[in-house]
Structure formats: C-alpha cells, structure tokens
C-alpha cells in the first residue's frame, strides 16, 4: 500500500533543510513558497528518495494559482503532494523542476499552454496542445474563447 507521507513530519524535515520554505501543511499536502520550490524538490528527490514525478497540475482559484505536484517514491512506496501558490498576473513565473525529473518537461509545457504559468529554467517552454499563435490560456477561469454552454 502506498503510504502517503504525513504533513507535519515531512514539513519538519523540509523546514530543517530550508527554513521558511514551508508555508503550511495539512494532512494531505505541503505548501511551499514558489521561490523555494526547486530546493525543496531537490531535497525531496535526494534525501527522501522521491524519484518519480507522477503529475504536475495547476488550479485556478480566483485570487491565485495553485500548482500541485504529486510525487512518488518507487523504492520505498510513499507518495506526497506538494503545493505552491503563485499570484495571478499576466504570466506568473515559477522555477522549473525539469533538471530533477525529466518527466516534468511536457507537463510543464501543458501547464504553460493551458494556464499560462511560465517556468524558468525550462529548456523549451512553448505551447504543447494549442498552436503557437493562439491567444489566451484556455483553462483559466476567465477565458472566454469558446466552451459556450
């Protein structure tokens, strides 16, 4: 059974490594600052052996965007959910984790295309699903180019 790692324990470990990174936690997920994301991710990958990035998604709450990272450790059979928030703006910037997990490559392009969150450090950040000249980011709540109902 994959054991989801509990909030307080991992938050404490991350806090030891990079203080001030953790902004909060509950029993399902750990929230970190978006600037500290890369360090926290590196710590999780190297020390806690989270070698498999299951998915990256983003959610549009009206005042901010939230990025959700699902991580799994195949060796030890744990899982963890990491969340970070970024302010709504034209194109908010968040550090990219492609250097740690190559599977993040397409997933980050997906998030950029559909939500408009840019990742610095990504080698090839361009739209994945829509064509390059497409205006707007479809999955934002204020996108109105289609989906009439």
């Amino acid at each position: 059974m994959t054991k989801p790692l509990s909030g307080p324990e991992v938050a404490r470990q991350i806090g030891e490594q990079s203080p001030d990174a953790v902004t909060g936690f509950d029993e399902t997920a750990i929230f970190v600052h978006s600037e500290a994301l890369l360090e926290v991710a590196r710590f999780l990958k190297e020390s806690l052996e989270f070698d498999y990035l299951t998915s990256i998604t983003a959610v549009d709450y009206f005042e901010y965007f939230e990025l959700v990272y699902h991580l799994t450790s195949i060796k030890n059979n744990y899982s963890l959910v990491l969340k970070t928030r970024c302010a709504k703006g034209e194109i908010p910037q968040v550090p990219s984790v492609v250097s740690l997990w190559q599977g993040a490559d397409f997933q980050e392009r997906d998030v950029y295309d559909l939500m408009g969150i840019a990742f610095d450090g990504h080698p090839n950040l361009k739209r994945l699903f829509m064509w390059q000249g497409f205006q707007g980011h479809p999955l934002r709540k204020d996108f109105s180019g289609g989906a009439q109902d």
Binding site: M130, W131, G133, G146, A147
Partner: protein
C-alpha cells in the same frame, strides 16, 4: 548528443499557426453538400448513359479509402475492416495511406483546428473523382465537443461532405450502410457533369 537543427523550430511553428488562423477565418460557412443524386432531370444522351453505368460500376466497386484516423471512430472503422464485418467484400480493404491513390476520404473522429489545414491539404491532394464521408457525430457537427475552443464544429466547414453517418461511434453496420449509400450515389453520377461544381 546535441545536434544542430537545420531549421528553426519557432519559425516553422509560427508559419503553421498562421496557416491555422487563416483557415479558421475562412471557414465560417459550411460548404454546400454535392447534390449529384438529387438532380434527376439532367439531359443525357444514350451513349453517355451506357458509358456512365460501366464507369460508375467500376468506380463504386472498389473505392479506396484514405483514412484520417483522429479518434475513437477510427477503431470502429478498423473493426469494420477486420474479419467480422468485412469491408473487403466491397473492395475497400486497401486503406491507402497516400491520398494520391485514394478515392474516398473517411473522416473518422474529432477534427481540431490544429489538424484542419492538414485535412484540407489531404483533400486537395486527392485526385478527382473523390468523395468524403463524415463518420461519427464529431465529424458531422463537432459532436460531444461542440463549443470547445479547439474543435471544428463539423468537418463540412472545411471540405464538402457527401455522406454523413451518425453515431458515437457508429456501429460497423451503420458504417456499411453509409458506404452503400455512397455506392448508390456514385451509381447515379454522370461524366457529363464534370467540372460543374467545386
């Protein structure tokens, strides 16, 4: 191993997206369906009629499809081509990959705006006489995805369609019924009307 790409990816992308935008802008009205079989009182002379029936028999007995495999309907198409609902009895089992060797274009699945220029180009590359069958609800009108930002609401905005086969996905029997309707349409075609439409 880093290879120097001989093209610049972003330039190609920009050219392609310009093409897509141009196609969207120009496809706001559907093409009228070719109505060759409704027109019964065309004056034809006897010689042309006999030649017509032979030519039409030849054409309809082995229509070669060039298939476009976008989505789920493609699997009903392949299942029709498989041994249980044999499409080979109609002479159509050769799914020609190259549009230059095909007569019929079976659009089986959802067409998105990104795919639309490719679809138009394949249609243009097919030699006359050519027919188009729109298979499945998505090809007819956008289907379950009508209203989405990236789906073409009906492939008849881009190419003229001869037969529409409803269903999601249509059963193989439905597809065969549609193909037989197409054969009947081809049978009523006449060579004296060439060059009239399109």
């Amino acid at each position: 191993m880093e290879i120097e790409k001989p093209y610049v990816s972003s330039e190609l992308d920009r050219a392609e997206s310009a093409e897509i935008e141009a196609l969207i802008a120009s496809s706001q009205q559907p093409y009228p369906d070719p109505v060759a079989w409704i027109d019964e009182e065309v004056q034809r002379n006897i010689l042309v009629t006999a030649i017509d029936s032979v030519i039409n028999w030849g054409r309809r007995s082995s229509v070669w499809p060039a298939t476009l495999f976008p989505a789920c309907c493609a699997f009903e198409l392949v299942a029709t081509a498989a041994s249980r609902f044999d499409i080979s009895r109609f002479g159509m089992e050769l799914m020609r990959a190259s549009p230059r060797q095909a007569d019929l274009m079976l659009v089986a699945g959802t067409v998105t705006w990104k795919l639309a220029p490719a679809l138009r180009r394949i249609y243009d590359q097919m030699p006359e006489p050519k027919w188009v069958v729109a298979m499945g609800a998505c090809a007819i009108s956008g289907g379950a995805f009508r209203g989405s930002y990236s789906v073409v609401p009906g492939v008849n905005l881009i190419i003229p369609v001869d037969v529409y086969i409803p269903g999601c996905p249509p059963r193989p029997e439905g597809l065969l019924h549609g193909i037989m309707m197409l054969h009947r349409k081809i049978a009523r075609d006449t060579i004296s009307k060439k060059g009239q439409d399109d």
